[in-house]
């Protein structure tokens, strides 16, 4: 792609906005349409676009397999961890109302963190699925 300057410059211009839009969808999710899943997919799309234009090697350097794995693990832990905090605070598992002084604020905090966990997980999983399928050598292991 070295000889396609328009694509390269266009991509570099687009990526920050894609990431920003993903964050908007993520953090606006509890008020309007959006949420963790959609945000994660959009966030991953930015990296997939980067990989398409700048090549797999650069994309892997930007988002190594080890980092993706940790983000994936952290996402699930954040989701389930919010549930456990609810338990420790005296409610049932995933009861957000006890997370704050007023139940409404508690519900806000709870769904915000849970969606963040979903977003992290979906982003890392989507990127990993793309990276695995994009490897030319099927026996190449995704490690690092």
């Amino acid at each position: 792609m070295r000889e396609k300057p328009i694509l390269r410059v266009g991509t570099k211009l687009l990526i920050p906005f894609i990431l920003l839009f993903a964050l908007y969808v993520q953090f606006h999710g509890d008020f309007g349409p959006g949420g963790g899943f959609q945000a994660g997919v959009i966030f991953a799309a930015a990296f997939i676009l980067y990989a398409l234009v700048f090549g797999m090697a650069n994309a892997r350097a930007a988002l190594p397999a080890g980092l993706r794995r940790q983000i994936m693990a952290l996402g699930v832990l954040l989701y389930a961890g919010v549930g456990v905090v609810g338990m420790l605070a005296g409610g049932n598992f995933l009861d957000y109302s006890v997370l704050s002084d007023t139940p409404t604020t508690g519900q806000h905090i709870g769904i915000f963190l849970v969606e963040l966990g979903v977003g992290m997980n979906v982003f890392a999983a989507m990127a990993t699925i793309f990276f695995v399928f994009a490897s030319r050598d099927p026996s190449a292991k995704e490690d690092g």
């Binding site: 952290l74 832990l77 549930g83």
Partner: protein, 495 residues
Amino acid sequence: MTLHDHLPALAVVVPLMAAPVIVALRRPTAAWAVAVAVSWACLAISGQLLQSVLANGPFSYLLGGWAAPWGIEYRVDPVDAFVLVIVSAIAAVVSLYAKTSVAKEIDPDRQYLFYAMYVLCLCGLLGMAITGDAFNVFVFLEISSLSTYVLVALGRDRRALTAAFRYLVLGTVGATFYVIGIGLAYMMTGTLNMADMAERLPAVAHTSTVRAALAFLVVGIGLKMAAFPLHLWLPNAYAHAPSVATAFLAGTATKVSVYVLLRIVLGVFGGTGLLTALPLMELLMAMALAGMFVGSAVAIWQPDLKRALAYSSVAQIGYILLGIAFLSETGLAAAIVHLFNHAIMKTALFLALGAIVFRLGSARIEDIAGIGRRMPLTMAAVLVAGLSLIGVPLTVGFVSKWYLVEAAIGAGLWPVAVAILLSSLLAVAYVWRIVEAAWFAKPSDKALAATEAPTALIVPTWAMAGAAVWFGVDATGTMGVARAAAAALLKGVAP
């Protein structure tokens, strides 16, 4: 709220959270240690739940504090608790065995994946058993199924990949049928809570939508439990999966699917009268009888012992289905106790086969020739569990078949009682094949080089084989729980 009140949620949350921890740790030994700790913690939780449900009756846990028909309810009654104990006990014993066998069969940099999938699969299976929400069952079904596909695909050779893919296609068809069935039932009742759905279904039972829902559910769950003739994914998946995965799945995955069948068909659709109005039980009985004979007969001709035992599982699922099809308390109790009994003996057999694979690198009949003298402890475990598979007295297999025959006679179905005994003869044939090869054949080259399996493999194998004798000699405990569970299930079934 005390810790005790949270146990229903913890049974699912503990293994669920362990999976990402294992992924983050990555080191094989650390991953294994977490898997062992989680499996035993789940066993402790399940034991506690069974104890409280037997002492104080069924109880509920409301997820997120949302009230029952709207929120997700975890409902613990004797049937759930019994299945929870079976699954977590198998997982606990198999987890001890896993380290040595997995180290031999799976690349070091992929072992953490195996353990992550192992606890995730445990989470899904326990979740299916404990939840009282029909859609939540689907979610956990997918969690356990997806992790199972990965477990199978981690097998030693490339055939594991095709086996996993075939299982993925058929398993997805099964899960889709399940969710279509639940969707149709939801359309007519407006609820996903099982207890609520069971109350609302009789009013709309005459509609073809509800009948279609029942049909989709039976076929979907039938696929997941590998009921004949929907069993085609099972032999390859069991034969090519890593030994530990086979032992774990053979003891748990199909059993939990049988539980879902009991819960949905008897528990939710029981009150509609459709079970007797439609020829459903006759159909199940025909499937069960065909499975008993075809599964056992095919098992006799398999050159690979893992495949042979996989086909034997198809036959054993037939016995369980037969017990359900009688729709009587004895039949149902026999089916439920056979869930437990078959889980024990099949896990013992697959663990022993895993020990053989550990030493020989294969479980083909020509390779195990003469292995009886080289690996006496392992083969003795195979013999004990094999006798139990046949149904010899003093083993758990005898208990199951005794009550099955009693139920058949109680229902006035003499030919079925005879069929149960005849199909046991086929089991004699495939077990005898193993015995003949192991003790009476000229030793193969591989067998001559083999020595007894390591203690870390022998002890869990014998724990299971010993349990097959223990619960065969004294079945009062297991039969007591099974009878209580059967009575609880039949209460909701309209005559």
